[in-house]
Amino acid sequence: MALAIAAAAVPMLAGVMALPRPGDPAAPVHARVAAHVVAHGAEETGAENLVTAVLLAYRGYDTFGEVTVMFAALAAVMTVLAPRPRERSPEPADGVAISPVVVFVIRLLAPFIAAFAVLVVLRGNVSPGGGFQGGVMLGALLVLLSVVTGRGNERPLLEPRLASWLQAAGPLTFTLVALLGFATAGAVLALPADPAWARGAMLLALELGIGVGTAAIILGLFLQMRGW
């Protein structure tokens, strides 16, 4: 087995070693699309963070697909694991009780974690971060709180009806912004150039949609995988 993989590695090594040196400014990687994005990205999309500019404006369709992949992961886990509403397995007896110190500390930290996560989401256009990173932090916070307050599947932190709408926030926000872009700027997923604030507002709406969607999905994945 190891021999077979080593044999497969030889062509990979040969091909990869012949690639242009990473880091050399004259490499084709920086020539075409990247040069345009670095030169015109900020004023064309209104986002200083060029990675967010590429993610939400130039290649917004990719990010729409990706947000739907994350939603599909939740749908998949629900299809495979979701227990019948009535017979949710009772909480395991041997679960170690969480010490009050931990509960108090986490309750104390919760607002700061939330503030940082919201900051990362909202400042996605101008500083490193964005919808996904902030959404994951919010999701982790929700997981932390549901463990600390012992709210499993019976009375989850997010009420199921609300949770299913929040989980769909990512794809739905993208669809709405895409149609809005079509109405104002003539192409699906386009950003209108004329009212500068409109472009900023649409990018912000996308970031918030992705953030809230990601957080709800991560909480959903956690509750399903934990099982009780």
């Binding site: 920086h30 130039y58 003539g186």
Partner: protein, 491 residues
């Protein structure tokens, strides 16, 4: 008018996100949303194909950004497969309503329909993608939903089959992403037409050959070509029947259509590397035909038999492409579309049989012809089509591939093709014999009623399409011929 192109893929994905939220207590609402989305995609696909026929291939710049900077969607003869995808999906959804009530527990059903919608959106988006990374994202959408749909029915083997499918699919996706990374490092852009132009200009060396090898290996795992097909039989057999129809009919073709989509990039490659890939595909395709047919002979479970027949038919298609001859390549691409129709008919009909009788093996299904005449009629038409007899759709593709093999001066492949057809003929005669000419082995068979109308109509309609596909085969061939001529080897 061309604004319909992005909406064809976005509508099912938006419906997928809405389905669980709307259908919380009432899965029927989620099903209704699914049917509307599939109908919308079919309507838009027909209009787009009409425009394709009238004005030729066109593309759409997403978000208004010009081609190499933004994502470009491409609608050409290959993307006309969207009509087949949306049509089969609509029929499978109508069929799946009664089937899911028995097979999928109620509290998971709205998620099941949501996954079906994600799969539809992924397939349609994949077929219309003109950008390398966009191709990868929609391939992942279709793949993730397929892995979960295999395990949706529950049962002992389903989860393990789904995990084996996931591991094979994920490894091939990583290989494809690695190749896309190599192409990006070589050319700096991701638009397929732009990458092809820049690769031809700068002259491709070892990295381009590596990218070609990686993409070919990755897509051939997705298409379950012979040595890489081990994940397919269990996955397609243990999945719920409507899902098996979608997997064997449509999702398996991702590998083939993806490979055809990226082939023009390597037209500048020196002929030695490209020639080796074609030769390897031709031989693997020929071996796949024989191996798939032989394996199907020894199966008792009807769905496993159909799954191995998929491996054999993928062998036909890959052999057709591997011959690097325009006639054979046209035959292969047409067979992709016809095989989708045929295999969907067979799996849905077999699913109706299993749904009504509860039996899966040929021995137990003896005498089904008398109790369920219409379902068995549709199954028989599918059988004739898969064997490749003239009036049906299966004949066209195989005939063109055989013609191409002879014209390319490779009679050994034409012999392999005929041997495969003979083997397939044998194991399908066993099916017809068991249904019509053998006394029922299980007494319960006598009390079995015909499948419900909502399951029967889609199956009969698909069977009719199998025959029509054979009679009016000229249209897809004329549509695909110009595209095939531009393929580097096929031209």
């Amino acid at each position: 008018m061309e604004h319909w192109l992005p909406l064809v893929a976005m509508a099912p994905l938006a419906a997928a996100a809405l389905a669980p939220a709307l259908g919380r207590g009432r899965p029927a609402l989620a099903w209704g949303l699914g049917v509307i989305a599939a109908a919308w995609s079919l309507l838009a696909a027909v209009l787009l194909t009409r425009r394709l026929v009238l004005e030729g291939p066109f593309s759409y710049a997403m978000g208004g950004w010009p081609a190499p900077y933004g994502i470009e969607l491409r609608f050409d003869a290959l993307s006309a497969a969207t009509v087949f995808v949306a049509l089969i999906y609509l029929l499978v959804l109508v069929y799946s309503r009664r089937y899911a009530e028995a097979a999928i527990p109620a509290h998971r059903r709205s998620w099941y329909y949501s996954l079906l919608m994600v799969n539809l959106g992924g397939l349609v988006g994949f077929v219309c993608a003109g950008d390398l990374f966009n191709l990868f994202v929609f391939m992942e959408l279709a793949s993730v939903s397929s892995y979960a749909l295999v395990a949706a029915g529950g049962g002992r083997v389903a989860a393990l089959a789904a995990l084996k499918y996931l591991l094979a699919g994920a490894v091939s996706s990583v290989l494809i992403l690695f190749s896309i990374g190599v192409l990006h490092a070589l050319t700096g852009s991701l638009n397929i037409a732009d990458v092809a132009a820049r690769l031809a200009a700068t002259g491709a060396g070892a990295p381009a050959a590596l990218a070609l090898g990686g993409l070919t290996a990755g897509f051939m795992v997705k298409a379950a070509l012979f040595p890489l097909h081990l994940w397919l039989p269990d996955a397609h057999a243990s999945a719920p029947s409507p899902v098996s129809a979608i997997l064997s009919g449509l999702v398996v073709n991702i590998g083939i259509i993806g490979w055809l989509r990226i082939l023009p990039i390597f037209s500048g490659l020196e002929t030695m590397a490209l020639g080796m890939v074609y030769e390897a595909l031709a031989w693997l395709g020929a071996v796949a035909i024989i191996a798939g047919a032989l394996a199907a002979l020894f199966q008792q479970d009807i769905k496993l038999m159909l799954a191995y027949s998929t491996v054999s038919n993928i062998g036909y298609i890959v052999l057709g492409l591997g011959l690097a001859h325009p006639v054979a390549a046209t035959g292969a691409t047409v067979h992709v579309l016809n095989h989708a129709l045929i295999k969907s008919t067979l799996f849905l009909a077999a699913g109706a049989l299993i749904h009504q009788t509860g039996y899966r093996t040929l021995h137990d299904l003896r005498g089904a012809g008398r109790v369920m005449p219409w379902t068995c009629l549709a199954l028989s038409i599918g059988v004739l089509a898969v064997v490749g007899l003239p009036p049906t759709a299966g004949f066209l593709g195989k005939w063109y591939i055989a013609l191409g093999a002879l014209e390319a001066g490779r009679p050994v492949f034409a012999v392999a093709l005929l041997a495969g057809a003979l083997l397939i003929f044998f194991y399908y005669v066993r099916i017809l014999n068991a249904f019509y000419f053998r006394a029922p082995a299980q007494e319960r068979m006598l009390s079995v009623r015909e499948a419900p109308l909502s399951m029967l109509l889609p199956v009969l309609l698909l069977a009719a399409l199998c025959v029509l596909g054979g009679l009016f085969g000229r249209w897809p061939i004329d549509l695909l011929a110009p595209l095939v001529r531009q393929l580097p080897g096929g031209g």
